[in-house]
Amino acid sequence: MGQKHQTPLLDELEKGAFPSFVKEIKRAAEHSEYAQDLLGQLELSYKEKVTHWKHGGIVGVRGYGAGVIGRYSDVPDKFPGVAHFHTIRVNQPAGFFYTSAALREICDIWDKYGSGLTNMHGSTGDIILLGTRTENLEPVFAELSSRGWDLGGSGSAVRTPSCCVGPGRCEWACYDTLELTYQITQRFQDELHRPMFPYKFKFKMAGCAVDCIASIARADMSIIGTWKDDIQIDQDEVRNYANSGMDIQAEIVDMCPTGCMSWDGNELTINNEDCNRCMHCIAKMTKALRPGKERGATILLGSKAPIVTGALMSWVIVPFMKMEPPYEELYDLVERIWEFWDEHGKNRERIGELIERMGFPTFIKEVGLEPHPVMVKEPRRDPFFFWSEEDIEK
């Protein structure tokens, strides 16, 4: 297929060292009319400095309210190939591991019914199949689901949970992030496929405080692995680091945020009671230091991007929970949180914003959590606080 539209501006982005998305669209355009017209429309956007996609549109597959994002061109006469250009979100396997056979299967389906363009992966974690027509949605879904693939979340639903590489390939994973991601996704299939909440709800599982999945910034519920006992030390390996040129005083001890370590040139001493488990020393001396053995997770709640009233990061609601199958304690907590959100949440209000509006103490009380000093950075500064009936002498 020859190139249908001239794209002098986009052609500029084929040059340069970093992999080019324009080359990818052009590759797909060799066999896809969608991709041909996508090039044309994108070139127009580059020329006019404005998007040419219309606002949304409700499309989907039968029985689901989520998983497909409707997208229509605002210049369909010029670019009929992208008149409809809907996105299909396919729920990725936890940890983003694949066999080539599985990927080829998805590619074959997508070449048959769609643009041949994907994102590996979308920001939330799904495999993104980028661009097809409404009448192809059911066939794509039948082809995918009959081969064991399902759609991810969208709209006011549970969004596709995702996780770091975890115990698959990381020595710091304090719980099985992949298994929990799989199990939580299965447990909440209905909530994922049929939007029934005030707004979106994201889960991200991070195996440790390094947080490679960015859970603290991007998930309504951030489940971050941690431990309770002492950091495991191999003093011989510490000395090996020192002997091979690491300045342990400057790079490790002086960078410890709690000052809980000391180094006498022979032994590294850690006062574990004062350690806040930030992971710096462990991350820099991977052979010498490892997380403790009594492992679980800290649960944090509420993060989101700036819309509507400013970005939030998740904050601690449960200092420590064992994170082992069947995860009933976690599911029970999730359901109590959703009940609170259902009861009080306004349309398009994320859980973090709701708690800000209602007050964290109210949330703690209604959801049945115990107040704990690690839930706050510092106690309140003002003298204005509520008491309950039972606190008042009559």
Binding site: L38, W110, H193, A209, D211, R348
Partner: protein, 358 residues
Amino acid sequence: MAENLPERQTDIGPPHFSKFLPPVIKNNYGQWKYHEIKSPGVMVHVAESGDQVWTVRVATPRLLSTDTIREYCDIAEKHCDGYLRFTTRHNVEFMVDSESKVEPLVNELKEKGYMIGGIGPRISNVVHTQGWVHCHSAATDASGLVKAMMDDLHEYFHTKDLPAKVRLAVACCVNMCGAVHCSDIALVGVHKTPPRIEHDKVKNLCEIPSTVASCPTSAISPDPKAKSVKIKLEKCMYCGNCYSVCPAMPIADPKNDGIAIVVGGKVSNLRSNPKFSKLAVPWIPNNPPRWPEVTEAVKKILDAYIAGAKKHERLGEWVERIGWEKFFKVTGLEFRLQHIDDFTFARETWRMAATFKW
């Protein structure tokens, strides 16, 4: 249905990941002992059993054709028993179970022109959003900005060291479908003018109460006479949230949409707590296809960080050590009225001390 389709299933969820784990990973699952970074794109993880998995990381543009994915599959089949994975930052990783298999893999990747790197104290791949490629609310193009920026900075992906990791991100509007608000350096598409109300369309396309409620500054109120809404222009901060709920309030403005740069965020807990990114540059015009003014500003910030930061110090940690007033001095970026917060968390950001640097 026109053709013979297989029988659809619902609510089956994703396949279990164990189907896709390479044997060396399956055998040592949860039993990893330590890892070492061998070069900017190669690392080895060693298990308690002594088994090793060697990983080679390769940059992708995130937007991938099925043809390229099949090429990855070819490589995985030739070198990695058909297994591969992607990272949260859109890299693809090829894994082998012995050191001797690394060189042939690396050689073939290089021969095919792939860019190997992104591990350790350098720039990894850029988390980004859809932009003009696929989004109705994009104020800029994300893929194009990433490409232009990384063409300038790619040496920090595959060769050069930095004081610590530098996480770059691009969001094409303030909805920020990505961890842009907690990145070392992030670009955000922003508007500078209020939405236009298409009164004749509001009554058919929009729910007035939710449109009114969508505004964070209460700039929107009902206009019952027009069966529409009105905007107090002086209160609008151009966030575009009203357009998200009401398609009859377009906000895109080619002459005034542009890019803001925010810096100093992080998500890890290493050393210091996770941090939000803060405003470094409020607005740079959209100048596709290569946005030279944006890439120049990013380089300025990165160069100042390289010159000033200590080993292991993230960009935000460096700025907090030297002070934001010094950040503007050493980067030469202009400090403007827009840098001073007047939104939700404003009070916390004003300087309530008499200590600062000249």
